[in-house]
Structures are given as C-alpha cells and as structure tokens.
Amino acid sequence: MQITLYRNSAPLNKLSRSLGSALTIAGYLREPCDVLNPQIEVEYNSTLLTYNYVYIPDFGRYYFINDSSVDGKKLVLTMHVDVLYTYKNLIESSQCIANRSSSHYNPDVHDDLCTYENGWDYYSGVLPYEFKASNGNYILSVAGGT
C-alpha cells in the first residue's frame, strides 16, 4: 500500500498539524493489523528516520510513528492513530462544554491552578466622621415638664 510520510512539528495535543513536505512510498502491512495501531514495513532508508508522521490513504487516517526499528533491509514503523487531526473537522463542529479555555473563560470563577501563599496583605482606611467621646453630652430623662 502507499503511505505518505511527513515531519510533524506540532505537539501531540494540538488540533492542527504543521506538516512539512510529503514523501509517498510503498509499504507492507504486517498482519494481523490493528487499524488504530498498525505496523508497516518499508524499504530501509536512513532518510526515513527523519519522518515522524504518516498518512495511510487506505485507512483514511493520520498516524504518529511511535517506533521505528530496523530489521535487515526493512524498516518497521509502529504507529498509533492521530485521532485529533484525522477527525479535526468533525471535532471542530462538535459541541462541548469547556472546563478551561484560553479564549472563552469566566474570570470570576475560582481557579484551582493558582497558588495560595502564606500570609495576607493588609490595606486600611478610615472614614472621616469621628465620634468625639470627649465632646459628648449628658442626656437627662425626666418625667414632667411642659
């Protein structure tokens, strides 16, 4: 089968990929094959070791190359499906409720990722009115009077 090799420089948990130039070569599927974790044999070429990402048209999926092992003149690529990029469009169209977000957030919600240090900072002020104990008055309450 034909497979297309890429050099992916994006982090694994990024929805989009930055794929460099492509290289399409022939490979042989090791059977039995788990579509999500396939192993493919290709003819050994040291240049192939610089690629870390694969698209398999027959499976319609993108894969991370988890391991490359040399077996004589063969290079065995052990891969795992990249579900984010494979289903990128569907994921983007799907509804979700965000737990944390860089773009849509509520600043007044308590954030557990902040660190509480010991101690408090104090600020104080005073209102202008003063109860002047020294200038007070006596109140005499009596019965009578007109």
Binding site: N13, V83, Q95, D121, I139, S141
Partner: protein, 735 residues
Amino acid sequence: MSIIKTLTDESGVYDVEIVIESDGWSGTPLVANSADDHFQFDIWGEINVYSGGYEGYTFTCEPDPTNYGYCALSSGDRGSIIGMSLEHMGMAIDSDSEPAFQAVCCNPRWSYSSSWGAKETDENLRIECDDVSVHKLKLTINDGETTTESFYNDEELGRYFQYASNVGIIFFRCRYVGDGTAKWRARIKTDLPIFATDADLLEYCQSGGTVTDKILNLEGDPEEEYENQFKFHYVKNIYGHNTQNASSYTGYRNYRFYPASKRMCFYRVNPRENSPFTLRLMGYDSGVSVKSAPVYADPLTDDDKYTTHSGSPEMLYLHKSISFGSNDYYSKFRFSTDLPVYGSESQARDYINNVIDERSAENWNDISRAYSETFDPNYGDPDTGNDNGVNGQSYVKGARLWVMESTDLNAFFDDIFNDVNINDILSGCQLFGQSAISCIMGVMYLPIDVDDVATVYSTKQTIKLGSWACPTAQGRYVQNNNKIIECGSFFVARVYNDFRDYEMKLSLDLPYIGTIETSIGRFLGKTLSIKYAVDITTGGCTAHIYADSIEMESYDGFMGSVRPLQALDQISHLNSVMSIVGSIGGRETGMINTATESFAGVATGSIGGSSKGGFNVPSSGVGLGGAIDLSAGAITDLYSLGQAVKDKPIAVRGSYAGCLGLFGCQKIHIRVQQPRIYRAPNLQQIAGFPSGVGQRVGMFSGFLSVISFQMVDGFTGTADELQEIYGILKQGIYI
C-alpha cells in the same frame, strides 16, 4: 477603541482587515514643552496572511522589551499639541515591492505646514524618535517550517519587514500574491489621542486640544442608564470607514428592553467568514412575538443616544443601506455592546426563549462584567436606595430629654440635694411616686454631639422635675430624634478583575458596635457608605451599610454610657455588661474548651490506648492503633482550629457595653485583607482559565479542556477512537 479599514489599491478592493485596539486616551491634551517630553507609543500584535495556497503565515511583532517606543519632540516643536493619525496606516498587499499603504504609528514626518497643530508657536508639528537605534521591533516569521526572528530588515519567502530608521514611522510590508485574506491585528498603547484622518488631528491641534469629539480612543460617555423598569443597553463607538466621512458614523446608540421583555440580542445572518456580514437585532415585540430587524447605522446624533424606542422593533436598526444610483452600498462597522451576539438566528431565538444564556454568546467575555455588576431591574420596582425613615416622635411634653453639659448636670443634682428645696420637690413630684428620684428616668452619656442625631432646642431652659422647676439647673431639651449620621464612604475597587477579588476579606471597625467581617463580594466595584442612627432614649445605635446607596447590612450596638442613680439601676446595668462580656467570653471560652478537649483527647487517648494495648486485652482489638486513631482525630481538630484562625485574619468581636465603647476606636476603620495568590503569567496560554462556556470546539482558540463533549453526526471512526478523542479533550488540547 477599534476600527476596521478596508484597503484598496489600483487593482481593486482587497479583503484586508486591520483592527487597532487602544487602551484609551487619558483625556488630557498633551503639550510638548521641552525636548525631554516623552510620549508613549507601544505597538504590538500580529499579522496573519491567509491565502488559498497557504494555511497561514504569522508575523508577530512586539516591542523590544527593554527598548520600547518612546517619542520625543524635537526642540523646535515646543508648545505643540500632539496626537496620532491613522490615515496612512495600512498594509501592502500587491505583488510588487512597493507597499500600497504604510503603517504610521505616530505623527509622521510628512510636511505639516506651519499652521498645522502648532498652537503657541509656528513650529511644525513633528515627532521624531529620540534614539532610533534602540527602537527595534522583533519580527517572527513562522511559515510552518521555519521560525526566523530578527530585529531589523528581514527578507524571506517573499515577505519582508522594515523598520524605518530615521523617522517615527513603522512600516509593515507584506508582499502577497494570490487570493485570500490578510488580517493585521495590532494593539496600540499610547497616551496620545488617536484620530482617523489627518484633518481630524489638525482640527484637534488647532483648537488647542478642546475639540475632542473625533478622538477615536476617547473613553467615557455614555454610561448605562436606568429609567423605571427599562434597562438600556448600549451599542457605542460605532465606527464605519468608507469613502464617506468616517466621523459621521462615530456615535452611540442605547437601547432598552420593552416593558414586557427581558431579553434582546444580536445574531449574525451570515457566517463571520463572509465579509461583510449582517447583524440583526432580536427581541420581543411587546412580549408577544419574536421579531428581528436588520441593523443600520444612520449618521448618529446626540438625539439618538437615549431615544425611547417604544414602537416596533423594526426601529432598532444598525445597518444602513444607502443607494448610490442603482447599487446598494454597504458599510463596515465595528462597535462594542453589552448585548449578547450569537452566531445564528436559532441561537438568538434560544436566548430570547431562555433556552440558553449569555454565556453562549460570542462576546461573552466582553459583556460578562457588565452583567455581573448590574442589578436586573425586572425584579420589583427600581431600587434607588437610601430610604431610611425618620423618627418623628416629639419629646417636648410629659417626658423630656435634656441635653446637658457636665456643669449643667452638677447644678441639677445640687438643686435636688439641697435641703432647702426638699418640700417643694416632694410636692412637685408627688404625682410620680414616693420620691423625687422616681421622676428621674435616667442619666446617660452620649459620646457624640447630640445635635448630629437630634433636633435640640437652641437655648437653655429651666429643667422641671414633675411640676417642680429647678432653681438653677438648665438644659436644652430634645425636640425630635430625627437625624442620621453620615459617616462617609469609600470605593471598593477591584484589584485583579477576576476571582481573586472575591478571595479578599473586608472588615469594619464600627465604633460602639465592634469589629465585623463582611462579604467583600457585595461591595466590589461599588461605593461603600455607612450611616449611624442613634436612639437617644436608650443609647442604642445601628450602623447601616450601603453599596451604591443600596442597604446591604446593618449592625446594632450600644453607645450610651448609663450613669446609675439607684442601686436597682446599678444591678441592672451590671447585668447588661456581664451579659455582653459573658457572651464574648463564652465564645472564647468555648474555643479554649474545645481545644483543651482536643488536647485532652490526644493525651488521654494515647496513654489509654497504649495502656490498653500493653496491659489489657483491647476491647476494640486495635491497641496502639486506637491511640493513633485518636491522635489523628485530634490533629484534625487542630487543623480545623488552625484553618479557622487562618480564615479570619482579623479578629472579630461583638458589641460593647457600659463605658467600654469609649475606649474603642472613634472612627470607622476599614481593612481589606488580600490573600497572596500567585497566578503564573503564562497560565492563560498553556492551561487557560476556568470557563463553563458551551459552544462548538472550533469557536475556541488556544488551550481548551472540556467537561463534556458531543461528537457531531457523521463520525465514522471506532468506539475506541471516540473514547480517545474524549479523553484527549478532557486532558486539554491546543487549537
């Protein structure tokens, strides 16, 4: 302040969007009086170029962190009023080397005539960078394969960046081939007023800085207003840039709910990617049917600011369709509003029908604060606050309250303890009991000027005991106890503008009441004011605490210091003091007892447990373990005790009694205790902030982790893949 500019060159109109954001102008005209006067202009932002052939190139421009842009006037420009014009700001989008537009970040050096801007001198208005060698901007080019950073000219991949080396002009040039879009999002932080055109800047300068209506980054008016049960919403800073005079589009428009309606919102008719898109305003028509209307922007006048739209919703336009011959002409607008904006009519309808709330709006982050800080006027009648009553009782006849100084009080007792007067006193007081003392209902000291809380007769009168007139004693009698003391106010400012503000604690030292700790959330962003009401018959007092004139809390205390006249008074007085002191002591004793019991539990449990484990058959079978368990329980108690102390950084206490309040504070002291909370500066970037927003994944950017996720129809992968997707989204992804 933000604007959108549509750029054109000889080959046609290009879909280039330039958004400029500013932190706002301070409002004070800046006059350069010496060559050393500096004015700030920081610019940072990014340029995104999209085309059919490329997924996107990003130019990130940011100031050199140690040498950001300051401008200074040359010595010949002293006395000049200065500002900033954006007329020549733009971006090259043609395929040739020369840019079609230049980005001008401060007054360019082009030829101002001597009449331009110079109010007090005839010198040219001209700004130059004082030392261009340090004003280097960093440029990062990331085309997906390589990242290049440079501090000066850089040519690569058909795009290049140039920093003009001798004038206060910064160029961003982008050679661009092909169809697509380019977006420049720049942020300008400046203390200069910004104008759209040179003409507007000129008018401002020639007026000596008094004509400010063309200033784009002018903050302030209008504010939201409330009237009866209506609630105004604003759509302000509408700015359209096209071939017409842009200034005529700058204005405000406030809207308000219909009486029977609670909700109103915008929605986009066509996707954001389609430019221009149309916004429609949706609301209830007299609470009967949902209607929507296109949004227009007729040239707005002051009369439009607070227009009452009591008719049909069709009046609520913001979109303008102007006919030029046979063609409709559409303008682009950018504005800020506290009305939610939704991406579709169905979402807007869901909002109107209370199916979703404002959190789903595209502009939730912009409007959330406005919602959180306003009262919903639909609950009850509008609360204008400050409806304290007045004690209208008259104290003139029957039982009188006399305001006396100490010399007056001494004279009074001299009168009644004088043997010469005894028969007259008994005669005058016989109606009230067996002795003259029965006529005296109390003597109390109030530590305030009684005129602050009562209307007191202005001149001294002879005091009467029963029907007996004192020969010498005089005082001023109270007419009404009808005043309230306004102690002052202060503004409780938000510090962080996020949840950390609510972690602060607010305590108040209230004279004659005590120290109380209250929820700061009730007062954040509001003016806290305090009033004292004093009952001069009992000496009781109440502190009323308000947030923006709305009473939030009240606390009672005792201000009067009673002077016992009989043994019975003394006993009663003593009991009241003991009662209050006892309650305070009881609280503390309770804590001490609790702690003691905890410690006792540790000791007894440990020893007992060990003893049992060592010498007796343990009934529970745990032996030493029992001791450990008890210790753990005690540790928990100690931890709770410690937490209780930690959570109350200010000790609180209850009311005062007797004369003790006189030794307390005599002014209201406010203390804000701010916890030390550290938030990593890159937290938003790498882990986001708490959200709760529900919408499509594609609407988010940056980091996103989800609480729940619903895959759209059409997914053809396996169950394991779906589970893995959900797992990754819960952990968090970058979009």
